[in-house]
Symmetry: D2
Subunit: 337 residues, 4 copies
């Protein structure tokens, strides 16, 4: 039974806490840290044997804690990762690895210096069965080489503070990681196109929808539509063009209804629900790997977190320049292969 220390019980942190307590086999939370002590104590109250530890660093160092889940605010991830690496404890770190590419590099360097891979990034889509099927098909080579992908990430509505930066670091980053994983390549160029914006856009610093165009080292082009106030539902699209055919992510299987001159299936606005199964599977995979003294190879590593950070930096630059910007990445180090 893996004994987990969890940092941050905001919305997603609480979901992860409940997941580990109620759904995951072979893991349990023994300690929780959060700046909001009252709230944290409320969350853990129904469960016996879970301690509140105010200081996250103390939690990481606590001898009862086998492994750490980091769901605190973005700016803290880097420091907590580095401390957990010092303790040589396994880490589940929600994206991003750091709030800067340089910080991400520091974590990568610390992990490599420690000599043992410890970090699993929270890029949950890698554990979505639909993406798994898509990757398996593309990797099989049955359709030839991938050349183009048309992707879309759509949210029904966005929080007021959501702006062009968040569009990249909070949304496009998922497309960046998943497509890099799907085709086993990294990005070398980025461009961002701003079409006419929706009347539903309220933040003057947001263009919505926008199109992020990425090129991989082999010349594949990935077009990612980012549209965060599409109104109609949470929706993720991915069509991969290979030399001998196309492969497209399906929408979720929902009951097919005919009524009132419509033939429809329902859609959800809940992104968590859309990918609920993948969250459970990524945590089960993490717990299983920790219990086996290893990391899950399908999951995103610290290196993947670093790649995502470098790529989003280029996208942010491209938003401002309107030009095609280089992405300064290199081949994956042997340590992460």
């Amino acid at each position: 039974m893996l004994k987990v220390g969890l940092i941050g019980v905001g919305s997603m942190g609480t979901q992860h806490f409940l997941r580990i307590m109620n759904v995951i086999s072979g893991a349990t939370v023994v300690a929780v840290s959060d700046i909001n002590e009252a709230h944290a104590k409320e969350v853990i109250a129904p469960y016996e044997g879970v301690r509140y530890i105010a200081d996250p660093i103390e939690l990481i160092r606590d001898p009862e804690v086998d492994a750490v889940v980091i769901v605190s605010i973005d700016s803290t991830h880097e420091a907590y990762c580095i401390e957990a690496i010092k303790q040589q404890k396994y880490i589940f770190c929600e994206k991003p690895l750091s709030s800067s590419a340089a910080g991400a590099k520091a974590v990568v360097d610390a992990e490599m210096a420690g000599g043992k891979r410890l970090i699993q990034m929270g890029f949950n889509r890698r554990f979505d069965t639909r993406y798994e099927e898509l990757k398996a098909l593309v990797a099989s080579g049955d359709l030839g080489e991938p050349m183009v992908a048309h992707c879309a990430h759509r949210n029904a509505t966005y929080a007021p503070q959501y702006d062009d930066v968040t569009a990249v670091t909070g949304t496009a980053v998922h497309e960046i990681d998943i497509m890099s994983w799907l085709v086993g390549d990294y990005f070398t160029k980025a461009q961002v196109i701003f079409p006419k914006s929706s009347r539903h856009v309220q933040n003057p610093n947001l263009h919505d929808p926008q199109i992020v165009l990425l090129t991989t080292s082999s010349g594949m082009v990935v077009s990612c539509e980012i549209w965060v106030n599409c109104q109609f539902a949470y929706d993720v699209r991915c069509e991969v063009l290979c030399e001998d055919g196309t492969a497209t992510l399906p929408r979720p299987a929902r009951v097919d209804v005919c009524t009132k001159q419509l033939n429809y299936t329902g859609m959800t606005t809940d992104g968590g629900g859309y990918f609920a199964d993948s969250y459970n599977r990524e945590f089960q995979a993490w717990a299983d790997a920790c219990n086996s003294g290893t990391v899950n190879e399908a999951a995103a590593s610290a290196w993947d977190g670093y790649c995502a950070a470098v790529t989003t930096d280029a996208c942010l630059k491209a938003q401002k320049s309107g030009a095609i910007e280089p992405v300064a990445l290199t081949e994956r180090p042997a340590f992460y292969k």
Copy 2:
């Protein structure tokens, strides 16, 4: 240019008149007959060279008339067919061939006695491209022998006078003809099941939906759901189970929409629109065949009209008895092969 005499310009007759004048190549209407003279003259007024002939028999005999289209009320079809056979003119006869199986047999006998096939029945679905693809696939044998078919015929709403008899003679008759054509077999047994009826049923002499179960001479079972007040749309379903797979009629290709948490395609309540293309194609095929001095082999013959009549008779008996009733049919005569 085939010169057509058309009997009956009610709703469907007017559609056929306009079709021949405006859509079909190689045919034109030269004479129209209808009991409502004023209405008929209104219909033909915009077109030059179309005469009104009060007496349908006179119209059939008119020397300018090359071929006859019969869209008058059901009870008149038999007599007009027999007159046109006497004149050895080509006939397009809307279903039914006669209002009784005996009457249908009389037309078949007259046509055989005349020594030349002249009649094309208005079973339009045989010219629907989706049914054509389905038949071609089943006939190819690629999926093995057909064993079962699940069919459904759904109308959004029905006319007040629609009752259990019409459910068979006006609706199930289409399933009977098309399925017989599709698998190249005829029916030997019929059963009708009455589930709980919809609250939308107003006619006390109607059970709706109902399920007509038919068995072919080879033992294939065809289940036909007849549901004429389904409210939601006009809808026709057909799934054929063959030994190595299934083949299913698609719904029409309609624009796929995502909005308001629904992913939908529109449906129509208009059966004429659903099959519009097949009406055009059956008339073009008829005109082409007449102009070539032959009948179209894919179209329903007088024999097919007779088979449909015998089968609907058995269904009507089965509605009353609740039992499995025999269908008294024999192999197709060589004349109709």
Copy 3:
């Protein structure tokens, strides 16, 4: 942590053992019984703290065992259930409850006499999210009353010993339970129709496909196609006709591929895979309920197991008689509401 004793580690029993050990949260297996001692010991070897107990009755009575999972051969279910009821331990019993309707009634009576509901039957489809959505929609009344359902249960191939009896007790029984659950009604009449059989049928005592027609107490008709050598895949279909529309179970969401002039999605021949998620969810629900000292209300009860047995008995009679046979069921007792 619920301590489970599991009887029977054949194919499905082993799956359930591994499920409880590796996937389910809050439960663990502490004892296993099986007539094949060597095999059972092999299955449990990798796991610490799991004892082998040769005698199932002894296992049921073992003080460490909180709850019992019965996956042994059908004929033993009744006796093990009755013993576990005596011990007032929670039971997960794979279908059937007994090999006879009378035996099922005996278990129901024993449970009622014990005064506490203890049994959850292994009708996994009730925990399939697609069926859940379908039931929720039908139950909402948004589409009006259900009147007809077209169901199909298809297996790619069947074991040589599979015959007309198994078609009912092993296959149709799933449709019987799920449809009864879905519309909240029980069956009063059964008929079985034998179409022409597939050339792939090898057992002379099997008709395949066959159509089971069931009528509920309210007059709804459920048509269940049972086709166990359809060759192409494992496939389950369900379309419910309500007064204002239809609702249809979707196929699983699979990657959509275009290649070689086909637009396809893959299908699986693995029924376990088709419903894998529902197996996990039914066991999690069972463990959660046991840990809360209750039974899961969505799951099938002993009464549901009894209803299934009475209905399959009528189907078996209908296969032989060719007639419409009564199903001798009554309203659900208050104990099971």
Copy 4:
């Protein structure tokens, strides 16, 4: 009966000849011109009353000829249009209007100088019922303003001479016209992106696939994937993103098949077949308009042909520069509204 003179009976010209003779109502071909006299005479041989006229200009001037269909090689369109305008005869001109934007402008100017609209361009997709439904939905405003469209034009294979120029002038031009028509706007900017090319590309002067990015005067962005050796089928995709939802062109309705662990629909490699119905409808619309002494307003005008030429010019420039190129277009003149 419209008497048509047709210039050019190559592959498409012959199809159009047969279409007018056999499918279209109210029109017939009376004269044909082609540089290959023997072939032309073979094509017309089965039909009475069709003359061969060697000189196209003579054919245009022939007093029996009411209207002209131009399907000769691209470089001749401009001169034949101008001659037919001189004769004030109606014209059906296959794309392009001219082999240069300047030439297209000359035709526009000639038509305006003549004072009467005479030209219908052969952009057949405007008569495809699926595009019509899509346009009607977008134009209705029910989904809000269109902001982005993702389009794709895919051919299974290409002719050896097909190169980057043809990719624009022969293929992208269809997307340019249809999208301009669909949203009622014209393009102001063009960019072309070259991803990694397929191994199936043989012509060194072809990049395939390629992505053409177009911006309209209102800021809408249209992304057009051009992929002419996709191997799998002829395929056309169009998804329009509006402020409140998306609308997507369906694939053709084809029989849905389950066999060998696949659930598939067939696809065709035949672009003519994919859009067959639209060719018939555009010619019927043309014949009807000519017979009424007018032009069809839904069809592409000479102005539309000119817009397409200017836009393709910008695309060709963008292919070479790799930059975003301006499209030098202005508002539609009143003459063409």
